[in-house]
């Protein structure tokens, strides 16, 4: 099988890579672009650790083929901060101690941002169900939900 040439915009930068036809977007981001903030938890779309947005849509990158990213705009956790300044979601996760081992954290942040992009003022109930596709084994989700509520309020204040 011959490799496929893909041109895509990742975190605002135009990037090119070669990938296998059956290679997942997750593997391409991690192995070819060194974006190891994208994590593999299950490889079957059940845990959300590999969450990224493709043209604004929240996806599990383990279930997307790298070749499908041609011409798309992709955002990973590495694209949330502006330089050294953390995104309010990142800052609130940090302040609320909404993380322990940290390996699910990138997926939660990307998923939370996708929620707030479409609904800047979600209820706690909406947050809990939106994030039900992201598994965390360390926390009890309590501080994660509080961090998202707090970040949403901050974003509304500064919008």
């Amino acid at each position: 099988m011959s490799n496929i040439h893909v041109t895509t915009t990742v975190n605002g930068d135009v990037m090119e890579f070669l990938c296998e036809p059956d290679e997942s977007l997750m593997d391409a981001l991690r192995d070819r672009l060194s974006l190891t903030g994208v994590k593999e938890g299950c490889g079957s779309g059940d845990c959300g650790a590999c969450s990224v947005t493709v043209d604004g849509r929240l996806v599990c990158s383990c279930l997307v083929l790298a070749a499908e990213a041609e011409g798309c705009k992709i955002t990973t956790v590495e694209g949330l901060a502006k330089g050294d300044k953390l995104h309010p979601l990142q800052q609130k996760f940090l302040e609320h101690a909404a993380l322990q081992c940290g390996i699910c954290t990138p997926g939660f942040l990307v998923a939370s941002k996708a929620l707030l992009d479409r609904n800047p003022n979600p209820t706690e109930h909406e947050i809990r169900y939106w994030l039900a596709g992201n598994l965390c084994r360390c926390t009890g989700y309590d501080k994660i939900v509080r961090a998202v509520v707090d970040a949403a309020a901050e974003l509304r204040r500064t919008a």
Partner: protein, 787 residues
């Protein structure tokens, strides 16, 4: 250097990030930025080979032939390895039993057992090829369950018993008596980062292994044994794990040994990362238990005599099952004084994966057993289970001497019991009494949906019950610019250990936490370490680090006393400064001066837990340095037509002593509770009739999700300090909160009991999945209809 008197106006009154400061996890910034490096994120050296294991597809069978011709022919395959390729010992057993082969030879003893390894140029190529081997088996009869093992008397070792008093006489004389059976399922760790190891060959046959492990020293030993090397030829490093929960105490041995074998044989770096489905099949889990009890009690619900028969599914090998089953026995009493008790433990050998450590290490199973007994007694007497619990609590701290109610079944006196007052406070803050009455009134009017509430206490023994493991080492360097470099034997799996130990060092030097560099755990920095397990990480490593810090501080103090012409006792470390008589130094100044005076600025530290001893043969001793306490109130609702259920509210009060870091400790409590609730409610391991695990991915094995979080979670730390001299009087907090989750099971049980008008015990087994809740409801309805 300045020769000036201290200036209070410019001296900070408190350092940033000292002991007790709720500062964020040391890696929090890296976690949210996505820059934290886990083992699989380490850039692969050029030429790295990827490995996949070939796994048994039989539970118990002779292996007659292995044909790899299709494997070798597959794309990307470099080599195949079997037991014949192992230069040293074909064993990764953690306790030297030689019953955990790297690659099975001749006989497979569980479905998913490792048979061979394929090394290929990519992960996908290796995994695909590993499925292509042609294995000829000759099936043997398989024992899969506890019941089958008990019937066949298939045990790893002889049953083990301890106790106090005369339970048989007490049972015969008791005014009330109940017998029952409690079943509880196992639990998959589901650390979000699966097992992974990267081995890099070095000079002279040496090897460095990056492993996601709670026990680097054991990885070192396993690799050395398999490769036939001395320990000093193997270096193991782990900076952080993506969760451990006990699942990386011994289960990392196999992937590390295989990666090292491939690296040694090929001369190329080699990585083995289990696919999630393989991880489920290859690695051990929490032991499922069957517990039979026979209890005699008085009209007040006070236990007079009791026997427990605990049967645990250990799987095909020892692993840590002996210590786990012992700990289940040590926690069969939970918070309750049992004047006449006999606990017997059966360690069942089955043709399933060898079960292993999981947060609580058998304690949760033992504890769930007696909590179900409390419930049964309460149902029999028509009392609130809380009243029965209170009637049976151990004598309170300060009142234990002469009380006659402080001796455990293993002959240790409980001197620090605070569960009574802790429960009283939680009852008050949670509004338990009023809410319980309200729920009963609500249930009377609600025909379909029913609510339940339960308060359960926790007393968890802290220390490894294998006394020799209660030791730790640390290594601390002070550089001439005043910055500190900290290393110790503990590992970081998200629990915040590195942060807590660094806070201890910052507190000792009275410098800001940012001045203390946290570094990866490595076997060449601190040798011969114990696993980060048994909740002991901060107790042991915090103390070791403090010893190292105090050694360096003493050297500085002696030097500064000479410099300032004062006594060493007159040297004080205050926030940001060191005062020596009339002179003041900064830490960088003192460090540079010490170097100029040719004084060592590096030290090891060592700690061994005092007071503990345990004689297994007589069943007597003091296996635990102290106990950690806690209690939880859970309110849940069930749908009696479908069994669907959810938690509505949780109130927790937990004892972490004088907390080293309240933010981190509250995180442990929150996460522990949810993990315990998951074990007992949603998480169900299902094996098919051939011994294959059917629930081998998160699509079918359900850990709690964000939507399962109770809408109301109130969590508080108990205000009290450890009565034993632990690190800054804190208490271990890793495992104990998991057992708070027992209240989630018993809240469902209370809701089910409402169906029968609270006339009987719901006897809800775990995990209380919707199916099991529905069956319990139906059983109760049938019982009520039958009168």
């Amino acid at each position: 250097m300045q020769d000036t008197a201290p200036k209070p106006a410019t001296t900070p009154t408190r350092i940033t990030g000292g002991v007790g400061d709720p500062s964020p996890h040391d890696s929090a910034h890296k976690h949210v930025a996505g820059t934290a490096i886990y083992t699989d994120d380490i850039p692969e050296p050029p030429g790295t080979l990827h490995i996949a294991l070939g796994l048994s597809t039989r539970a118990h069978a002779e292996v007659l032939a292995l044909d790899f011709s299709q494997v070798h022919a597959a794309s990307g395959v470099v080599a195949v390895f079997t037991a014949a390729d192992i230069p040293g010992r074909n064993d990764v057993s953690p306790i030297g039993k030689s019953d955990d082969p790297v690659f099975a030879t001749g006989l497979v003893e569980h479905y998913g057992q490792s048979l061979f390894a394929v090394a290929a140029t990519s992960m996908l190529a290796a995994r695909r090829a590993a499925r292509l081997a042609d294995v000829i088996y000759k099936d043997k009869p398989a024992i899969l369950t506890v019941d089958e093992a008990m019937d066949a008397k298939s045990f790893l070792s002889d049953p083990y018993t301890f106790g106090i008093g005369d339970p048989d006489a007490a049972l015969a004389a008791a005014p009330h008596r109940l017998k029952g059976r409690v079943r509880m399922g196992g639990q998959e760790h589901f650390y979000l980062e699966g097992q992974v190891a990267l081995a890099i060959p070095g000079e002279d046959g040496d090897v460095t292994v990056h492993s996601s492990t709670q026990h680097p020293t054991e990885i070192q030993h396993s690799v050395a044994h398999v490769l036939g090397l001395p320990f000093n030829a193997v270096t193991v490093e782990v900076r952080r794990m993506g969760g451990g929960f006990g699942g990386k105490e011994t289960q990392g041995n196999l992937p590390a040994a295989v990666a090292a074998l491939v690296a040694a044989k090929t001369g190329r770096p080699a990585k083995l990362r289990y696919d999630r489905d393989d991880d489920f099949e290859v690695t051990g889990k929490r032991h499922d238990f069957r517990i039979d009890y026979d209890v005699g009690f008085d009209a007040g619900g006070r236990i007079l005599g009791i026997t427990f028969e605990q049967a645990a599914r250990c799987g095909m090998s020892f692993d840590l099952s002996m210590a786990i089953c012992d700990r289940a026995m040590f926690h069969a009493d939970n918070c309750y004084f049992l004047p006449n008790v006999r606990i017997t433990s059966y360690r069942c050998k089955t043709n399933t994966v060898s079960n292993t450590a999981f947060r609580g290490f058998g304690g949760p199973q033992g504890m769930a057993g007696i909590e179900r007994v409390m419930e049964a007694i309460a149902a029999k007497l028509g009392k609130d289970p809380l009243a029965v619990r209170r009637a049976n609590f151990y004598a309170a701290k300060g009142k234990s001497a002469g009380s006659g109610r402080s001796l455990t079944p293993y002959h240790m006196e409980i001197e620090d019991c605070i569960i009574g007052e802790l429960t009283d406070e939680l009852v008050r803050t949670s509004g338990y009494e009023k809410r319980r009455a309200g729920i009963r009134a609500w249930n009377a009017k609600s025909p379909i949906l029913k609510r339940g509430i339960s308060l359960t206490p926790v007393k968890f023994g802290i220390s490894f019950t294998n006394t020799l493991m209660n030791q730790a080492g640390a290594l601390l360097h002070l550089y001439t610019d005043g910055s500190l470099h900290l290393n110790h034997g503990g590992t970081e799996m998200g629990q915040g250990l590195f942060q807590k130990v660094a806070q201890v060092v910052a507190e000792e030097f009275q410098c800001d936490l940012s001045n203390v560099k946290i570094t990866a755990t490595r076997t060449d920095k601190v040798p011969n370490t114990s696993p980060t397990a048994a909740s002991s990480g901060s107790d042991l490593n915090g103390m070791a680090a403090r010893e190292a810090a105090r050694t360096i501080k003493m050297r500085l103090a002696e030097m500064l006393a000479v410099e300032a012409g004062t006594d060493v006792e007159a040297v004080r470390f205050i926030p940001g400064r060191i005062i020596a008589g009339r002179r003041t130094f900064t830490l960088p100044e003192a460090a540079a001066l010490a170097h100029a005076r040719r004084i060592s600025l590096s030290s090891t530290g060592y700690y061994a837990t005092p007071k503990i001893h345990w004689d297994r043969a007589s069943g007597k001793g003091r296996p635990f340095f102290y106990f950690a306490y806690g209690a939880a109130v859970t309110e849940s609702a069930i749908d009696t037509l479908t069994g669907e259920n959810r938690m509505l509210r949780v109130d927790i009060l937990h004892d972490a002593g004088r907390s080293l870091n309240p933010a981190i400790d509250l995180g442990q409590i929150e996460g522990g509770f949810i993990q315990g609730a998951g074990w007992l409610t949603t998480e169900e391991l299902v094996w098919d009739g051939k011994g294959r695990l059917s629930t081998h991915a998160p699509s079918t094995y359900k850990i709690p999700a964000c939507s399962d979080r109770p809408p109301v979670m109130n969590m508080s730390l108990w205000h009290g300090e450890n009565s034993e001299d632990t690190i800054y009087r804190s208490k271990a907090v890793g495992e104990p909160p998991l057992m708070l989750g027992i209240s989630a099971l018993l809240a469902l049980s209370d809701a089910v009991a409402s169906v029968g008008g609270y006339a009987g015990d719901a006897a809800l087994d775990a995990p209380a999945t919707p199916e099991r809740v529905l069956m319990a409801v139906q059983a109760l309805k049938t019982r009520v209809a039958a009168g």
